[in-house]
C-alpha cells in the first residue's frame, strides 16, 4: 500500500519519443486506468514503473522514494501480464511461490500466503495443476495470485483481460475490481478497452501519442472530454463530429450541414466564423418528425436498441443510437439535442468551454491564442 508519483516522465527509443512528460500522482489504494489506442505508449508507461525499461528523463516516486534506478525486483511491485506469463513447467502452487522462495521466505510462510491467495481466488483445488491444464480464466487468476502473494506496494496490470472471451472478461473485470478494493493496493491498469477503463478506474488517464490527453474520473472523461481524440475514443459507438462555425456573437454554432444550434451553457469565445467541431454522441440524437435528413446505409439491431449508420447531406457520416427497433425507409429525420453537444476548437481539437467556466482553463488560453 503506497502512493505513486510520476514526475516529468519521458521515454524515447532512439529518435522516437514514446512518452512526452507524464506527471501523475496516485493516492494510496487508488486504481488508475491508463487507456489509449495501441502504440500510444501506455504499455511503455507501465514498464517504466515496473522497472522493465528505464526512463529517458523524470522520476518515479514510490511512497516518496525515487525507485527509477532500482531493479524491478527491488521495487516491491507486482505485475499481471497480458499473456499471464505463467511458468509452464511449474505447478500453480510453484508459480505463486516462486517469487517468495527467491525472497527467502520460510516454507510455512510461503504455504500460508499461497493458500490464502488461492482461497481468495478460488484456486484451492488447482494448486497442483500445470498451467496448460487450466482454462483461460483460471490462468488469469493464477497470474493475479502470483501478484497478490507478493503483498506488493503496487499492482500493475498490462491488459490482463484481453486474451479472455467476452463473457469471462466481464466476470473477471468485476472480480479484479472487487479484489483490488478489498486488498486496497494502489494499482495501475493498462487497457485499450474503454468499457474496462470506465468500469475499473477511480480515475482515467487517456494517452494519445505519448501525451496525456486527459486525466479525470471516468464520468468526467465521458461527459467533458478534453479534446476530440478523447471524445472519439471513449464511448461506443463513437461520438459524431460535425463541422461548424461560431455565430450569433459566440452564442451558437452554425453546422456545415445547415442548422444553427444555440449553446445552452453559455457563449464561446472567439470571432464570428471561428471554426468549430461539434460532437454529439449517438445516444443524444433522436429520430424526429422534422430534422436533418439522414440517408440510411446500415441498421444494426442490438435488441434493446438499434444503431443507424448513415450520412447527412454532403456525405457527412452520422451514427444514431435509437431505442427499440429502427423504422424502415431509406431516409430518416434526425433531431440534434443541443444540451448534449460538445464544442471543440476545429484547429486544436481542444474542448471549448463557455466563457467563464473553470474546466480546462490553461488549455483555453492556448486554444484561444489564435483569436
Amino acid at each position: 500500500m503506497a502512493t505513486l508519483e510520476l514526475q516529468g516522465l519521458r521515454k524515447s527509443f532512439g529518435e522516437t519519443e514514446v512518452l512526452r512528460r507524464i506527471d501523475l500522482t496516485l493516492a494510496d489504494g487508488e486504481m488508475l486506468v491508463i487507456v489509449g489506442a495501441s502504440g500510444c505508449g501506455k504499455s511503455t508507461l507501465l514498464r517504466l514503473v515496473a522497472g522493465l525499461e528505464s526512463p529517458t528523463e523524470g522520476r518515479i516516486l514510490l511512497d516518496g522514494t525515487d525507485v527509477a534506478a532500482r531493479d524491478p525486483a527491488e521495487r516491491d511491485i507486482a505485475m499481471v501480464f497480458q499473456n499471464y506469463a505463467l511458468y509452464p513447467h511449474m505447478t500453480v502452487f510453484d508459480n505463486m511461490a516462486y517469487g517468495l522462495r527467491i525472497r527467502g521466505l520460510s516454507r510455512d510462510a510461503i504455504r500460508q500466503r499461497v493458500d490464502e491467495a488461492a482461497g481468495l481466488l478460488g484456486l484451492g483445488e488447482l494448486l497442483q495443476r500445470k498451467p496448460r491444464q487450466l482454462s483461460g480464466g483460471q490462468r488469469q487468476r493464477v497470474a493475479m495470485g502470483r501478484a497478490i502473494v507478493r503483498e506488493p506496494k503496487l499492482f500493475l496490470f498490462d491488459e490482463p483481460l484481453s486474451n479472455l472471451d467476452a463473457k469471462l472478461r466481464v466476470q473477471m473485470r468485476a472480480e479484479i475490481r472487487r479484489l483490488q478494493r478489498r486488498l486496497g493496493v494502489t494499482s495501475l491498469y493498462v487497457t485499450h478497452d474503454q468499457v474496462e477503463a470506465m468500469t475499473l478506474g477511480d480515475r482515467l488517464l487517456v494517452l494519445h501519442n505519448g501525451h496525456p490527453a486527459q486525466l479525470a474520473t471516468p464520468i468526467e472523461v465521458f461527459e467533458q472530454p478534453a479534446d476530440t481524440y478523447v471524445a472519439g475514443f471513449i464511448g461506443a459507438p463513437a461520438m459524431n463530429f460535425l463541422d461548424a462555425t461560431l455565430t450569433e456573437s459566440g452564442r451558437a454554432a452554425r453546422l456545415a450541414v445547415g442548422p444553427v444550434l444555440r449553446f445552452p451553457d453559455g457563449p464561446r469565445p472567439g470571432p464570428e466564423g471561428r471554426r468549430l467541431t461539434i460532437g454529439i454522441r449517438p445516444e443524444h440524437l433522436a429520430l424526429a418528425a422534422q430534422g436533418l435528413p439522414l440517408a440510411v446505409e446500415l441498421v444494426e439491431p442490438l435488441g434493446s436498441e438499434s444503431l443507424i449508420h448513415g450520412h447527412l447531406q454532403g456525405g457527412v457520416p452520422l451514427v444514431v443510437k435509437h431505442p427499440g427497433h429502427a423504422p424502415g425507409g431509406e431516409t430518416v429525420q434526425v433531431a440534434l439535442l443541443p444540451e448534449h453537444m460538445h464544442v471543440f476548437d476545429h484547429e486544436t481539437g481542444r474542448r471549448l468551454p463557455p466563457i467563464g467556466a473553470e474546466t480546462g482553463a490553461p488549455r483555453l488560453v492556448a486554444a484561444g491564442s489564435d483569436q
Binding site: L52, Y87, G99
Partner: protein
C-alpha cells in the same frame, strides 16, 4: 472415416523396416557363424545357436591382440557422454549470453560462433593436435573429448530455443526477483528440456561415432574406443576373424540404442508438457 486395413501403406512400412533391420540382423546372425564360411561369402540368415558364445568371448576377453569389448565400450561411452554434456553446457551458456544479455560485440561474438560452423573438423585437426600436445593431453582420456566440446551448431540451436521464450516470461521472472543464473536454472532450461533431450541424443551419437580424432590423439590401446577397436580387428583379409568383428559391431550398437530409447521417452514427455 474408418476403413479396412491399408495394405499398401503397411507393405511400404514393412519394406522400410526390413531394409533397415536386415543389415543389423545379418551381423547379428553372422557373428555366430564360422569365420571361414563368412570369408567365403557363405553367410546364412539363420544364426547358429552353438556360436552364440562369441558375444561373451569378445565382450570379456576380446579378440586376440585387442582390448575386451566392455573396456572399449566404457571408453566410448565415457567419451560420448563427456562430449554430449560438454557441448550442451558450453552451447547453453553461450547461447544464453547471446540471447539475454546486451554487451559490446555481442553480434560479433555470435557471428564468430556462426562462422566456425563452416569449418569442418578436419581443417583444424593439426592445430588442435598441437594445442593438445602443448597441454600434455596426448594419450589421455581428457584429450579424447576436450577439443570436441565446443559446438556452433548446438549454440545456434539453443539460441533459437531461447529466442522463442516469450519476453513476458523473462520479465515475470525479473519481477519475481530471479537473477540471470537462477532464471537459466529455474526457467530457461526446464522450458527447453525437450530440446536438451533431443540434442543430447544427437550429440551422444555424434560423440560415439568419432573416429579421426581418437585415432590421432590416442595411440595407447587402453584408450581405444569401440569404433577404433572394430577397425583394428579388420586386419589382413584372410586373417580377419569376421565373427568377432560382427559380434563387436553388434555390441557397439547397444549403448547408443539404449540412450535413444531412454531419451525418447523423456523427449516425448518434454514435447507434450511444454506449453508453447
Amino acid at each position: 472415416m474408418k476403413r479396412g486395413p491399408d495394405y499398401v501403406t503397411h507393405a511400404v512400412l514393412i519394406l522400410g523396416v526390413l531394409l533397415f533391420a536386415l543389415p543389423v540382423w545379418l551381423i547379428l546372425a553372422g557373428a555366430t557363424q564360422d569365420s571361414d564360411a563368412i570369408a567365403r561369402g557363405e553367410l546364412s540368415l539363420l544364426p547358429d545357436p552353438s556360436g552364440l558364445g562369441i558375444y561373451a568371448r569378445v565382450l570379456f576377453a576380446g579378440a586376440p591382440g585387442s582390448q575386451p569389448v566392455w573396456h572399449m565400450l566404457l571408453v566410448s561411452t565415457g567419451m560420448a557422454l563427456a562430449i554430449a554434456v560438454g557441448k550442451i553446457v558450453i552451447s547453453v551458456l553461450s547461447a544464453y549470453a547471446v540471447v539475454f544479455f546486451r554487451f559490446p560485440f555481442r553480434q560479433l561474438a555470435f557471428w564468430a560462433i556462426f562462422i566456425t560452423l563452416m569449418l569442418p573438423v578436419e581443417v583444424r585437426i593439426i592445430p588442435t593436435y598441437a594445442v593438445m600436445a602443448g597441454f600434455g593431453l596426448i594419450n589421455t582420456f581428457t584429450g579424447l573429448w576436450l577439443p570436441l566440446i565446443a559446438s556452433a551448431t548446438a549454440t545456434l540451436l539453443f539460441r533459437q530455443v531461447f529466442t522463442a521464450i516469450p519476453d513476458e516470461l523473462v520479465e515475470a521472472a525479473r519481477m519475481d526477483g530471479a537473477g540471470p543464473l537462477r532464471f537459466l536454472r529455474d526457467i530457461a532450461l526446464p522450458v527447453s528440456a525437450a530440446n536438451v533431450a533431443a540434442l543430447f541424443v544427437i550429440l551422444f551419437v555424434y560423440g560415439w561415432n568419432q573416429y579421426l580424432w581418437p585415432l590421432l590423439v590416442a595411440t595407447d590401446p587402453r584408450l581405444d574406443t569401440i569404433v577404433i577397436g572394430i577397425v583394428k580387428l579388420i586386419g589382413v583379409e584372410n586373417q580377419t576373424d569376421w565373427g568377432a568383428v560382427m559380434a563387436t559391431a553388434t555390441l557397439a550398437l547397444v549403448p547408443p540404442v539404449i540412450v535413444v530409447l531412454l531419451m525418447q521417452r523423456w523427449f516425448v514427455a518434454g514435447l507434450t508438457e511444454g506449453e508453447k
